[in-house]
Every structure is written in C-alpha cells, then in structure tokens.
C-alpha cells in the first residue's frame, strides 16, 4: 500500500524543487514588504482618499482565501493588461509567465498582512521615543529612521515569522497555475504511477523542516535584537 522505497527515491527529486518554493516566498516577501511600507505610510499619514482605498483593499485581501486570489489574478491580470493595452500602454498580456502571477498574488497577500503587522508594531513603539527625538532637534525623518524603525523591527518579528511561514505553506497551491515547486514536483512524480501518498509524505516532511528552520532563524534574530537593545518583552 505505502511504498517506502518509492517515497525514499522520490525525496531528493522533490527536495530539488525547494529553490522555487523559496524563490516565490522570498520574492513575495520582498514585494509585499516594499508595498506594505508604502501602505503604512499612506494610512498613517491619513492621505485622504488613498488611505481609505488602501484600507478597503487590505481588508479585502485579508478576507479572501489565497487560492481564490490566485485565480482572480490568474484570470484577471491578463484581462487588465489587455485593458491597459487598449488605453495605449505598452503591455503584453500574452505570454505572462506564471511566476509573475505568483509574485503578484502572493506579493499582494503579503502586502496586506505585513501592512497590518507593521502598523501594530509601529503603534507598539512608545510615542515618547519619537517625541524625545524631536526635542533633541532631530527632524521627523531622522526620528523615524534612527529611533522608531529599529524598535519597530523588534516588535514586528513574531508576526513577520507567522506571515513568512504562512507564505511558505501557501505556496503549496501555486502548482495550480503551473509552477513546479515542492507540491508540483510531488504531483509530477506521482502521476507516472498514480501513487500520491508517498510523495505527499515527502513534501510534508520538507515543509515541516523548512518552517522549523526559518522559525528558528527568526527567533534567534529576535532574541539577538532584544538582547542588544535590551528591550524588555
């Protein structure tokens, strides 16, 4: 029933797909982080119109399953590009690589979740810290970069860890749009003999180890920073 040999032989092949899983995860994290920072700035500065629109967008993304978002982007992005072409933009809706769709969907997802966490981490920094920076003559920008952001970063790490691990796990859905990451590779190997339980067990082991490693690394970084700043929990 469960073919141990097949599971063992498949393991290294599935492991070989890990780089793509990580590429999507890191790509989405970086895109999400950059966008999230812009979202946080717009929302904290209460830029009229924009901050409300972003609030709704964030709420929408956080309220819908990533799988559904993936399909909305998958079907919607090409149509959007067609539309933009109609407006005279130089876009090429055909031949949109799957990785671009993955980066878009997962990046937006990360943006929504990260922006909320960054806002919470920002609000958790004692406002007195920023005020003290102003009273010693620092400009608002210097106060933010020198004082607020370093402290915010420490607050952010636990939530960041959760979001990052969720991203790793959620990439297990992108094989639906044709990217051969861990789950996709597991499916391919299985399809020859239609034997799935073995490869899925392999994939499960890889995901658990990956998540464990990254949780460990991030916990260490947090402990280091906390120790360095000696910010009591």
């Amino acid at each position: 029933m469960f073919d141990i040999n097949f599971a063992r032989d498949s393991f290294s092949q599935i492991l070989a797909a890990t780089p793509l899983t990580l590429l999507i995860t890191f790509g989405a994290t970086i895109i999400g982080l950059l966008l999230a920072i812009l979202v946080v700035i717009a929302r904290e500065k209460k830029i009229p119109g924009l901050s409300q629109v972003l609030a709704v967008l964030v709420s929408f993304i956080r309220g819908t399953p990533i799988l559904v978002q993936l399909y909305v982007v998958y079907y919607g992005l090409p149509q959007l590009l067609v539309l933009m072409k109609g407006w005279g933009w130089n876009t090429n809706p055909d031949g949109l690589p799957a990785i671009v769709i993955a980066f878009s969907a997962y990046g937006l997802n990360a943006m929504a979740n990260l922006s909320e966490s960054i806002r919470a981490a920002y609000h958790a920094v004692d406002p007195g810290q920023y005020e003290a920076a102003l009273t010693v003559g620092m400009s608002p920008v210097k106060g933010i970069t020198q004082i607020v952001i370093p402290q915010l970063t420490v607050n952010l790490i636990p939530n960041f860890t959760n979001i990052f691990l969720d991203l790793i796990k959620d990439t297990a859905l992108v094989y639906n749009i044709g990217l051969v990451e861990i789950m996709g590779q597991a499916n391919i190997i299985s399809s020859i003999g239609f034997k799935y339980l073995e490869t899925y067990t392999d994939a499960l082991v890889i995901y658990i180890i990956l998540c464990w490693i990254f949780a460990r690394i991030l916990r260490l970084i947090e402990a280091r920073l906390r120790q360095r700043y000696v910010i009591a929990q």
Binding site: A132, L134, V136, G137, I147, R228, Y229, V230
Partner: protein
C-alpha cells in the same frame, strides 16, 4: 525677556485645556509650575516646543515672533533646536546606549560630527560619574541614572531653555535626591529652566519664581515664599493644603 507666550489656546475634543495662557520666561531663571493633576501642565510644556500644536497664540523667542496657530516648519525646527525637554518617564532611546543617547541629538539634530559629539557625550557622562556605564542600554540602568542621562541629553545641546515635566515623579524616593541635585547645579550655572514638579524642597529652594496653574490658566505667579506662605487666591490655598496633607 528670553521667551514670552501670549494668549495660548488649546482644546482637546472640545475641552479647553489651555485657556489663554500668558507666560514670560526670563534669561537664567528657574520657573517652577505647580498645579492639580490633569490641569494641563504637561500640555503647556508640550505646546512650548511644538510636540503638540496650539490652536492659537503668539510666541516671542529670542528675536523671533511665531504665530502658534500656524508656525512654519522652519520655526518649529528652530524652536526645537533651541529648547530641550526632560520627560517624566525619561524617554531615553531604548535602542541606543547611554553615550549614544547623549550624542545623537548633537549628531542628527545639530549637525555636529560624530567624533566631537561622542567626545562631548563621554565628557557629560564623566561629569555625572556614569562614564563606566556609557555602553549600557537604558533598561540596564536605574531610574535615577536614566533620568540623569536624560538631563545630560537635554543640556549637552546648550539649549536656551530646558523644559522639565515632573522629572522625579517616577523615581524611587531615595533616588529623587541625586536628580534634584543635578538640576540644582544646572540652575546655579545659569541655565534657564521651566520645571513642572511637586518637590516642595526644590520649589522653595531653587526656583526663582513659582507659578500656580489651574483651570487652563496661570492663576498666580511670584517668588516661592510669596506663593507658598501668602497665596492670594482661594484656589491656590486649597491646592497647597491638599499637598501639605500628604507630608
């Protein structure tokens, strides 16, 4: 006259916290402000250096005149650079060491180069006898040490006025003395200071003038002995009696 504020108004959600404050601060004086909790003393200090923005009023400071209702960015930055503040909860930068706390206002606020700034900070710590703690982070220091560094952080900038908001009220009774002594020394060196405090010893012995603040206005202002021993207004008497009861 170093600094004068006229008809300062400030509301919070329709509640008039500062209701036309007039205040003059003379060069080299120590002005102590006392008054009931929640009356707006902190708010007054925060409006003086634009941590909060007043609804209206005028400020004359050195040779500048500023409309407090709509100060320009330059004016805000200029006032902040010529005043400094000491907070009730110290507010030392948690992610910076003792020495960095003192140096970074010079570096990022006043454009002093890092080397000079660090030398000045180290010297300030030596004067406090805290040089061996220069690489400690705030949470590794006692409240008293933190507040003394907070004062050094403010005074190293050589501000025209230093604003103190209840600098000792978060401290253990034993540690209050060290901080008050630092403040006394500062006063003796001619530093202009505005101090919100309930430390009667300091108000009586160090203050040039004492102001009683209540109901959004300065009710009474004068020499310490006059205010404490011969208060003019009923409101002032009441308050002083309530305070005296505690001791």
């Amino acid at each position: 006259m170093l600094l004068e504020v006229k008809d300062l108004q400030k509301q919070f959600n329709g509640h008039q916290v500062l209701d036309g404050v007039d205040l003059q601060i003379h060069q080299g004086e120590v002005l102590v402000i006392i008054g009931p909790s929640g009356s707006g003393k902190t708010t007054l200090l925060r409006n003086l250096n634009f941590l909060e923005h007043a609804d209206s009023g005028t400020m004359h400071f050195a040779d500048q005149t500023i409309d407090l209702g709509k100060p320009s960015k330059q004016q805000v930055q200029w006032v902040r650079r010529h005043t400094a503040m000491v907070f009730q909860n110290y507010n030392l930068f948690k992610n910076k060491t003792a020495q960095q706390n003192i140096a970074e206002g010079l570096i990022y606020g006043h454009g002093v180069d890092a080397k000079t700034a660090n030398q000045k900070a180290a010297q300030a710590l030596k004067n406090l006898g805290l040089y061996d703690r220069r690489h400690y982070f705030p949470t590794q220091l006692s409240g008293g040490q933190q507040q003394r560094i907070g004062i050094a952080r403010a005074t190293v900038l050589k501000p025209e006025v230093v604003l103190f908001d209840e600098p000792t009220s978060a401290l253990d009774p034993e540690l209050v003395g060290t901080v008050l002594k630092d403040m006394q020394r500062l006063a003796e060196n001619g530093q202009t200071m505005v101090v919100v405090t309930h430390q009667m010893w300091f108000a009586r012995n160090v203050a040039s003038r004492v102001a009683f603040f209540a109901d959004g206005q300065i009710q009474e202002i004068g020499k310490p002995a006059d205010i404490f021993d011969h208060p003019q207004k009923q409101r002032t008497k009441q308050f002083l009696n309530a305070l005296a009861d505690n001791y």
